[in-house]
Amino acid sequence: MLRRAVLQTFRQGLAQSFFKRNAVSLSETTVTHQPIETSDEADEKSVSKQKPGDESGNTVVVAPPEFRFMYPEFLPDPAMERRNRLKEKLERIDMLQRRSVVEIPEFYTGSVMAVTVADANSPNKFARFVGICIQRGGSGLRAWFILRNVVDKQGVEILYEMYCPLIQKIEVLRLERRLDESLLYLRDALPEYSTFPLDMEPERRLNNSVVPINPLKVKLRPRPWLERWERQNLQGVEDLNLPQRFYDKAEKVAKPWEKYDLMLQYRKTIPAEEQEKIFADVHSQLQQQEFKRKIRRRRGTD
């Protein structure tokens, strides 16, 4: 999740690759810097970075740093009192087992997805829902995401647990990001921003290596709202046009010192060294699964 992007401040190399990957639609020019990954990355989405060999001369395969945005649920809950390495390891094994059966694609908040679930009460025994991902959370087997759509002028949100065995298929119809991590403000926005046709076709992307950021600014309905959006520093919302007293109160209530609070950010995230270990653990299996899927897809088309 994007909140873990705060680690960029600690690791320069990670920051560089993050910008490179997600810089397409940003209006401002990216900072020129020496890219660590060379043109190898242009074709492949994720290429394992080969670390220079240690004293023994063996190469250590390390997962690319994008993994913590692509698969954030592999990172455990950072609360130190509840962490246990063995349990996290066992959970990861189970997650990979489930992923070998169902493809759980890379997606972000703002992507339009379709989920097919086994439903006893449906006429076809399967229920398919299309919607935009407005929020995602949880870690391990508890990972979830919420899809929102407007059906027959009624806003509908469904929370799906990613590793639930009732889920038959998860398709990403449009892979993109938005300017905010959570799009809960769509509940107070005009319905056209949350409406997606239920028979939407998956869109093909030309440039596979970079996930586009949609700079869309959403128009909100007039007040009353479900939350005080003016206090949340939202990027993806048009000018709220509120009387000045709202912004004054928001300033009074704001906590501008939190962005300088290193310990707060440290406690909210998993240390970079541990992240590398976790993803190195998981990386080879995920790559194998992707490879097998590609072969199956090619065989299917042929």
Partner: protein
Amino acid sequence: MIKARKIDVSFLNKESDFPMKPSGYMCVNSERKVWLIIRKRKRESKKNFWVVETCVLCTSVDQPCELFFNHEQVRTMSRVKRRTTHPPYWHVLKNNQRQDEKISSDNLRFVREVIQDKYKNKSPIKGSDLDIEKKEWDPKTKRSGVIARNIGVQHMWEKDGKKVVCTVLHVLDNHVIRYVPPEEYAKSIIGAKVFRNRKPLGCLVVGAEAANPDRFTRQYCSLFNEVGLLPKKRLARFIVTPNAVLPPCTPLTAGHFVVGQAVDVYGKTIDYGFQGVVKRWGFKGGPASHGATKFHRRGGTIGTGRDKARVWPGQKMPGHMGSERRFCRGLKIVRINMKYNVIYVKGTVPGPTNSIVQIFDTVLPRRKFTEAPPHPTYFPPEDGTLPQEDIWDSSLHVFGSPSISV
């Protein structure tokens, strides 16, 4: 004097259904904890002589009696000390105070080598090597339990798609330290209390989590001298019948249990510290607004002025909450991982994550074993191969299998 509502109950029928809401009030005959009690007058005298207080099910109502509804709080356990910061007085001093001994690193290394040499050869003996008298299992045997660590909670799904919260318990390196035969155990302080009116059973002392002997006192390490094992951080006693005895040095693993069986888990609950009356006892407190002055989370009245004219012992008030020993009975084992020695148990367990618990076969009569479990414990096969690494219950959906289609 118990405050109660008196109702003439000459119409009572023994077979009728009465609410059996449990409370602290016990029937004398059947030891059932019931809500409704019948009080019969044993003999007519000047003072109303109340003797028999029995529940509805075991009283024959042929004469007019009175029904008592228990409106009281349970006050019997209020004087019992539930927590102490010190161990019992019969325990041996355990932990060594870290001495600031200025030992050179070479000498430290030498000390470590000595310890390793001392315990290297004394590897724990596999149970199959010793001649354990293969005693038969019968439904009345009590097997040993196991010390485990609660490493967290994992969500699993059943075959119909229903989510199930499972606690993951990591069985540590358990070894049997000592066996105390029934006659000897009945003479000890705890044993005498436990077996006051019953036939005495034996006691198996099991230890878990081997540690560096440096951190323990000599008296504590001497407990393990007989067995020749590295001293363990945790010790526990399990009551066993003589036919389920295990010789000292036997390892206990996750295979001791069977997938699908019910277990009882004993642990210390989460320590909440000093808590107010709303969180500790579930009081409602006062209104948040409407002019309430300084009365939002307080207890309110603590007694009447008339009756007894004092605060009764056991009155619910703020105080220390949590860190109490509790049992969770009848939890079903849904998965066992033999490679990592991990048990998945359906439900939750007392205590926070990473706390130590004890697991043993359930005491609940309807969920006990009908077939013989690994008795007296599970012994891995001689050639070192595991029959199955990951054993799942039949009701659970295995993660590698195809998605559920309803």
